[in-house]
Amino acid sequence: MQFLATTKPGAAEFTSQLGGNAARKGNERMFSDLSMYNTPPSENITLEEFERLALARLSVLKEMEAYRLRHANKTEKEYLDKLNQLKQKHMKGLTSSAAAAAAASGASGAAATSAQREEEVRADNISHYVLRLAYCRTAELRKWFLAQECEMFRLKFGTYSAQEHEAFLSEHAPQYKPVPADELESVMPDIMQVMRSNLETREAMARVTADPKFYKVSWTRVPELVSQRRVLLRGGWAYVSREALAPLVVAEFRAGVSKGLSEMARRWRQMFPAEEEQRLQPLVASLTNRSLVADYSGVATRYGDVSAANLPQVAAKHFPLCMGHLVTQLAAERHLRHGGRQQLGLFLKGIGLPMEEALLFWRSMFAPRCTGEAFDKQYAYNIRHNYGREGKRTDYTAHKCTTIVGFSGGPGDHHGCPYRRLDEPALRAALGRLKCDDRKVEEAVAKARDGHYQLACAAAFEGVHRVPEMDVGISAPLQYYAESRRICAERESAAVQGAAAAATGAAPAGAGGEAGALAPSVAAADGGTESRGVKRPAGGESTTGAAR
């Protein structure tokens, strides 16, 4: 399949050489903004629209991700509202002039809306495929794109009615067998018990009793429901209500997009017609380079002065509680269990501690409880492995907050998120040791109590560094570290400048203070692209950047 080809300069053409697309298209159209994306677009569009649509979708996906990270406990409804709001913000007015003309030319209201809908479907499909092209290139990009797209699909799927679901299912997932009435009668009490145990609302229960429609599928198809115990299992069959089908369809969707992505990655070179390669490839590649995915790989080189010797000072000043806590426990017990070693070890690697220094650090921390020889035998391999020098030589990255919060462990384990695992007195004491502002300690403890662990961590950061509220929550220990380094570096340079200004005596006292206040904002703007930018790039600037 050839994906992109151009006929004349300035226009990119989608050509699909798959037969039978038209026949399938009719069915897909039924669901105006819900698509399995089985059919690539096939039309001519301008380069400008190509990029504008992709950027708009990218912004929606990114901001949705950021919103989720910061507000992990919102209801589906709130997420959906946010999604619609973002779509309104980014996708509105991007549709081509044809639709606008149709709407404006006094056509009847119904015709105008249907034209607009069609336009939306088109924009949705094109933007999806452009991003697919941009994000198919590495495993990491694919993973991110897949996760965001699935999340969006899941949210949208939830808004559809029973009939629409049924139609959608009969087309995309015929392997679900309806449960016959007599069998359903015998399992119904248990099904109701499952629902009660999952704290389903009374309305949901009433809906099921009023209209008991259940499907029987092999449990292997619903691992998500099984792992949360949200389904009744009997002899290997899962009894799934019509409402609970969403995850299954999402799985189907995920499989489809995932396959499409890897297919595209394999044929990346053939995607672009030879004469257009020069122009299109950098454009598509730039879509991911402007990546707003939080990436802290720059941290290691920016502040690359970490060694086993200065690690304790760095830890005391810049480590988030989850890492500081591990360092403290390690120093006290001269040992850490596996989970803790992984969590801390990968983080240390992330902040730029070289492998030799890491070996030195762990060896000295484990002594004298563990002799050098025993250390080499038991632990050194694992450290080298983390650095990609053993085994399958993968370059492992440090855990993100979502991973760490998900960790659980026994009584002897110290890894995981301290805001989740420590009890309140212990948490207060730990934050006190960090010299966190008292008011912020209480805020962090309250946030942790309500299960907002990342917000608790952000509050602690604000308390420790005495900064106003951050516009981005904490989403990874490395981010905390990077922000901390950045703020301290700014303060130092400000102090130096202030001192210099004072020393020359040329400037009045007021100006010295002003310089001190100005410096951070300049540095912040400079560092923004690397360490935190979860901001949407401005359309104009990116267009010029990409067209070159």
Binding site: R196, S197, L199, P223, V226, R234, G236, R421
Partner: protein, 458 residues
């Protein structure tokens, strides 16, 4: 019963052959006692037969890992057949043998295949270790195991076994005592062997009601007043075991700190006070007959909670579920926190996780990892009822003496306690597998025939 007979035999053998260490005994154990043929029969899943669809390379793609003396791991070993396996075991005399997955190619040739080399099937396994119960068992910690903490393992077997059979529909389940302080479970159904890592995680999470430690107490995932039918079933098993064995054996309500720890699960300070008062009253009027003090105190606690629930329910102005919920669940929460199976989740989640093979010998205790019958798990005695390598050698010597003059018996293990272990292995796993293996092969025939017909049609 077979079990008592086994014990007697061990007793007769006494300490087995005196003055011989486990390591010294291993060569003889591997030569005369280790049931290699049975293991191969199991792991070949019928592919060692003459069936037209039998995949003669199937066994050869299975990874074995030997742990040699001095903790040297030799991974990615694979063997053509039982004879090759037996030869390697005798030659290297490993301290431990682990079984890994079946790969897409012979693990010895893995470098030739690069990314195409990946695990394709593997039994669904579980590992439960008594060390994970150290915060709630009072009889010992670490590698300790005794009759007082074994009930924790036996309820675990009952709960997981029943769940696997009734909820997931698995049939071929092997339970093994791990030789020291835990148990392993191997689910060998064809469908179980094909599970993806995600599906394995899902099964593990399904059983994971115990969610680790938080705020000084074990966290169990119970929501609302109603339990999931599967959890309810487990709770039923635990409730009946609680008063009968777990509570008195673990003496959870005898000493101060232990009691305090348990009282932390009660949601209200006032309730804690009521329970304390009831306990002092009970100990003053020491005429509860010969009922165990733990049970007396437990019943007092239950009664206090029930009273409080009744009081809350009879309150006017509707039910306050914020108060009522925690009250209604706290009793079950205590039981679950102390006795619900604590799986080592990581072992179950990944297809390529290694697990120690049955019939290995624990290098420290000398105990053999014997299969155990889940139906008779209560009667299983991990302390004296498990044959050790030295006791087996003793029995072997005794049998040889008894058969003086006769020619050497190649199946001498049949005269030792190993015979019982192997017969459990056969009755719990191999016998059932035979039919399932045949079915699997016939299934392959059907597919092959269908494909063949399609070709003809073209």
């Amino acid at each position: 019963m077979a079990d008592t007979a086994k014990k007697q035999r061990v007793d007769q053998a006494g300490s087995g052959v005196p003055g011989i260490s486990v390591q010294e005994a291993m060569p003889t154990y591997y030569a005369k006692l280790f049931p290699t043929q049975h293991m191969v029969k199991w792991l070949a899943y019928g592919n060692d037969s003459k069936h037209a669809q039998a995949d003669s390379h199937f066994f050869n793609r299975r990874e074995f890992c030997f742990t040699l003396q001095g903790d040297i791991f030799v991974r990615y070993q694979a063997f053509k057949d039982g004879a090759a396996l037996q030869e390697a075991i005798m030659r290297r005399c490993p301290d431990k043998i682990d079984i890994g997955p079946v790969y897409s190619a012979n693990p010895m040739d893995r470098h030739k295949f690069g990314a195409a080399f990946h695990p394709v099937e593997r039994e669904l396994v579980f590992d439960i270790d008594l060390t994970d119960y150290d915060d709630v068992r009072t009889c010992g910690s670490g590698g300790h195991i005794c009759a007082k903490c074994w009930p924790l393992m036996s309820v675990a077997v009952k709960i997981i076994d029943k769940g696997l059979r009734e909820e997931f529909g698995f049939k071929h389940i092997l339970w093994v005592y791990s030789g020291r302080r835990g148990i392993h479970c191997w689910v060998c159904d064809p469908s179980a062997r094909q599970l993806t890592d995600e599906q394995r995680s899902a099964v593990a999470s399904w059983f994971a009601v115990y969610k680790g430690h938080e705020e000084g107490k074990a966290r169990v995932a119970l929501l609302g007043g109603t339990m999931h039918p599967a959890v309810e079933r487990a709770a039923g098993i635990l409730r009946s075991a609680w008063e009968q064995t777990l509570l008195p054996a673990q003496r959870l309500l005898e000493d101060g700190p232990q009691c305090e720890a348990l009282l932390r699960y009660l949601p209200e300070e006032g309730l804690v006070e009521t329970v304390r008062k009831k306990w002092t009253e009970a100990s003053r009027s020491r005429n509860a007959g010969n009922t165990d003090v733990n049970v007396v105190r437990w019943r007092a606690l239950e009664e206090a909670v029930a009273e409080r629930v009744r009081e809350e329910r009879s309150k006017k102005g509707g039910l306050n579920y914020k108060v009522l919920g925690p009250l209604e669940r706290c009793v079950d929460e205590i039981i679950m926190a102390h006795a619900y199976p604590r799986l080592d989740m990581e072992v179950s989640k990944k297809m390529n996780h290694l697990l120690k093979a049955p019939f290995c010998v624990h290098p420290k205790t000398g105990k053999v990892c014997v299969p155990l019958d889940p139906k008779a798990v209560d009667a299983f005695d991990p302390v004296d009822g498990v044959p050790t390598v030295t006791s087996l050698l003793g029995e072997l010597a005794a049998a040889k003496e008894a058969a003086e003059g006769g020619k050497p018996n190649p199946e001498a293990w049949r005269d030792t306690a190993m015979a019982d272990a192997v017969s459990v292995f056969e009755s719990c796993l191999l016998d059932g597998l035979a039919a399932s293996n045949k079915e699997e092969l016939t299934g392959r025939t059907r597919v092959a025939v269908a494909v063949g017909q399609m070709n003809v049609d073209f």
